[in-house]
């Protein structure tokens, strides 16, 4: 058997190693293409435009599609990580209502939450909150990640998630409190690092890449805010982030 040894390999071939973020970027771009092809084919089959399929076949194809979408999400997350590391990540900052986006995300996740036996309570602020400066798509991504993590990593039985928004000085503070499985104290330092996944999280959802919280941190900090978490007294965690209020000219 011949073993490949790059050290013995000749002149300059391995001298200039590409940065890992560049490799990730190239691989992610290459993967996006076949993923979009497979996704389109599955959608075409499921639509039954080209002939009827039986219910079992449809069920399998829908499962395939769900997994391709997961793969697409992981690849997109990887691409975002590489852009962050290369300093090329772009946010389209604009004044927006965090309240409206939070409400929309909560509504979108409501069916799934109910099916997962989770009560999601969004305490809408009594007075209208001022707008914040952020990228609407990316903030939606952060909210979806934090709230869906709370739903996904629940304990057995009925779970409760409380979401709040309050004005605090020149910023809006978002919080998402759950009574889920929580995070072990020894893992606290790793929570916002790339590819961090607790053992419990891996058991519940083996397909995750452990990039969501890393991306959340990047998005919030690039928007001028902060993100952190605390362990609740009894069970679960509370995740917080702040975003700066935009002074609107009247």
């Amino acid at each position: 058997m011949v073993k490949f040894n790059p050290q013995k390999f000749p002149p300059n071939l391995y001298k200039e190693r590409p940065k890992i973020s560049e490799v990730i970027s190239v691989v992610a771009h290459q993967l996006r293409h076949p993923i979009s092809v497979i996704k389109s084919y599955l959608e075409a089959l499921i639509s039954e435009d080209f002939g009827k399929i039986n219910s079992k076949q449809k069920e399998y194809l829908v499962d395939c599609l769900e997994n391709v979408k997961r793969m697409a999400k992981n690849v997109n997350d990887l691409l975002e990580v590489s852009l962050i590391e290369e300093g090329k990540y772009e946010l389209k900052l604009q004044p927006l209502s965090l309240e409206e986006i939070t409400e929309s995300v909560v509504n979108n996740l409501a069916l799934w939450a109910e099916a997962a036996n989770c009560e999601v309570i969004f305490q809408k602020p009594k007075a209208k909150l001022p707008k914040v400066l952020a990228d609407p798509l990316k903030i939606r991504q952060v909210l979806e990640n934090l709230i869906s993590n709370a739903i996904k990593y629940k304990k057995a039985g009925r779970a409760k998630i409380e979401i709040n928004l309050v004005k605090r000085g020149k910023e809006i503070l978002f919080s998402c409190e759950d009574n889920g499985i929580g995070i072990a104290k020894e893992d606290f330092k790793k929570v916002f690092t790339k590819f961090y996944r607790s053992e419990e999280a891996m058991e519940i959802d083996p397909s995750g890449a452990g990039l969501g919280l890393y991306l959340n941190k990047a998005i919030i900090e690039l928007s001028g805010g902060k993100i952190w978490f605390s362990k609740n007294k009894d069970f679960g965690m509370t995740f917080y982030f702040t975003l700066p209020i935009i002074e609107e000219k009247t």
Binding site: H33, I35, S36, S40, E43, A44, D49, F50, K88
Partner: protein, 129 residues
Amino acid sequence: MANQKRKILMIEEDRFLRKVYRDKLSKIGFEFLEATNGEEGLNKIIAEKPDLVILDLILPRKNGFDVLIDIKSNKNTQSIPVIILSNLGQESDIRRGLSLGAEDYLVKTEVSLSQVVDKVKEQLVRVKT
């Protein structure tokens, strides 16, 4: 005229994607034209005068941005709606595509086949009205 099929030109290098869009759009009554690179795409736009173009950006011979510039700077083709369907999803790419005159910008991994078809129909209705 009412029975005349509306022509959709897809400029896309990937044969698999062309195939699924060819099947889908032909099935619902469009005439599907295709080109595998930017130059061929531009030639077909001039020769065939499609009602709408679905344009990828990473293309051999002439990239999609340059194709778009040529379409929108030629008075014979500038009114043809262009939907960009690309894997480039960075904000700067989207901004550039729209500022060059594309009617819509869709990221391949983020939209479904039926969403693209809906966008095609939407744009054609706009052109009609």
